[in-house]
């Protein structure tokens, strides 16, 4: 379960006349195991910020985010690293990888980093590549040369390859054609059926409906 309790977030831009941008005040919600929560609201309202705070890449100004009985707001850097490794999958909006590393290696890496053996990691990754409908001739190429939709699927594969209890998805179905979108939707459903708590940003009504999400409207939840 993920609990977001009385969370405040603002940004101070020191190099732009110390402008202070308040993103939200007193944000509260929770996500139960197996549940898919969709964050809703216009661009700029802080949907991605919430995912990043849960993942620990944004500071939580005030309040608490509880995962596995641990409060992200007060964990040290190495505790967050450990929690990520054991519990939290995150699919960012854009793929960030080193040039030259093949798609297959990009996907295998999270498994190898957690001590899985090479053979196992290879088999799992190949299966996921096939499930995601990535052409075989691309597996050994760097995803940086791929199309937007292909890159996104590699990014999703990297986030989905491990069995983790929490998943954060930042627009996983954007820039995909309808066939591939359905593939991703089914993968997300399968995770949810296995009890994974999922928070996502889904730009399209279709995905939200298919996934049977619970919507959290940030326009209502956050008082500025």
């Amino acid at each position: 379960m993920i609990e977001v309790k009385k969370v405040n977030k603002s940004f101070t831009l020191f190099n732009q006349n110390n402008a202070k941008i308040t993103v939200f005040k007193n944000l509260n919600f929770e996500v139960n195991p197996g549940e898919i929560v969709a964050l809703k609201g216009p661009s700029g309202i802080g949907k991605s910020s919430i995912l990043k705070m849960i993942y620990g890449s944004y500071i939580i100004d005030k309040g608490a985010i509880i995962i596995n009985n641990k409060n992200i707001a007060t964990l040290s850097a190495q505790e967050i690293l450990k929690l990520r490794k054991t519990s939290i999958g995150y699919v960012s909006q854009f793929l960030k990888v080193i040039p030259r590393i093949s798609a297959l290696d990009v996907i295998m890496e999270p498994l190898l980093n957690s001590g899985d053996n090479k053979n196992n990691a290879y088999k799992k990754s190949i299966k996921l590549l096939k499930d995601l409908n990535i052409e075989k001739n691309l597996w050994h190429l760097s995803p940086l040369t791929f199309s937007g939709g292909e890159q996104q699927r590699i990014n999703i594969a990297r986030g989905f390859i491990k069995d983790l209890p929490y998943l954060l998805l930042d627009e996983p179905t954007a820039s995909l054609d309808s066939r591939n979108r359905d593939i991703i939707i089914n993968l997300i459903k399968a995770k949810s059926n296995r009890g994974v708590s999922i928070i996502g940003i889904f730009h399209d009504e279709y995905s939200r409906k298919k996934l049977n999400v619970r919507e959290i409207d940030l326009n209502i939840e956050t008082k500025h």
């Binding site: 190099n15 990043k52 890449s57 850097a77 190495q78 080193i98 030259r100």
Partner: protein, 256 residues
């Protein structure tokens, strides 16, 4: 409770009246990669030179905890310190020419390092050297060639092989991709990253290139005027910087 592999407390070093680094405290855990960023003169190099034993700090504490054995780095005898540096630490210089002997063959450079930690059997040394040439993607037929015949990228990879072959516990890297062509940088970066993952290396890397830090480092510290002004997870410091200077640094990066 995991004990930090390296714990630094209030470390300071001045050059006459000029501050090198001041009151630095930090911890590094096994398998972590720590990035140090900051402008020229901010104290990055002074700091890693103190930590790696190349410089004697004025004040502070450096404790390494390796295999349940604590080493109080600034309070051991000179000979113990030399031995510790030889067996437990490694230093990859920005300019590979500073970390290699150019008039000794590639294999000789690697072999020398092995001999410094006690290897004596020529056949073993040569086969290990060959294995490592292969690991850093240098054709093994070049083992008897002098490094002066190598390209910049190859030299850097050779320096990395030489440093890692003895399985050091902490590896310091000072701008390891700094002097290389962009195309070669990616290759060296990729190599460092795959070795870090494969061998679970603990690394402290200095770079002014935030992209390098982002791709390699789990944690980072930002230095200015000899002090640490911000520290944390690399992605957190880069995506949600809390200090004015860090924000300036991050916002100044050019995106292609």
């Amino acid at each position: 409770m995991i004990i930090p592999l390296l714990k630094v407390t209030n470390l300071s070093k001045s050059y006459d009246n000029i501050v090198g680094c001041k009151n630095i405290s930090m911890s590094l855990y096994p398998g972590e990669v720590l990035g140090i960023v900051g402008e020229s003169g901010s104290g990055k190099t002074t700091l890693i030179n103190c930590l790696s034993g190349n410089l004697e700090p004025d004040r502070g504490k450096i404790i390494f905890s390796i295999n349940n054995k604590e080493t109080d780095f600034l309070n051991i005898s000179e000979s113990e310190k030399r031995k510790f540096i030889r067996t437990d630490l490694a230093f990859v210089h920005q300019n590979p020419r500073d970390g290699l002997r150019l008039n000794v063959s590639a294999g000789g450079n690697i072999g020398e390092k092995l001999m410094s930690v006690g290897y004596r059997h020529y056949g073993n040394i040569r086969s290990l050297a060959t294995k490592w040439m292969n690991k850093v993607e240098i054709d093994k037929s070049r083992i008897d060639d002098l490094p002066i015949t190598f390209s910049g990228g190859m030299l850097q990879r050779l320096q990395i092989a030489k440093n890692l072959i003895t399985s050091p516990n902490v590896i310091f890297m000072d701008e390891p991709t700094g002097g290389l062509d962009v195309s070669v940088q990616a290759r060296v970066l990729d190599l460092i990253r795959s070795l870090v993952n494969e061998l679970n290396l603990t690394v402290i890397i200095v770079s002014h290139d935030l992209a390098v830090i982002r791709l390699l480092a789990d944690k980072m510290i930002v230095m200015k005027n000899g002090t640490v002004i911000e520290s944390g997870l690399s992605d957190q410091v880069l995506e949600d910087p809390q200090q004015e200077y860090t924000q300036l640094l991050v916002s100044s990066v050019l995106h292609v």
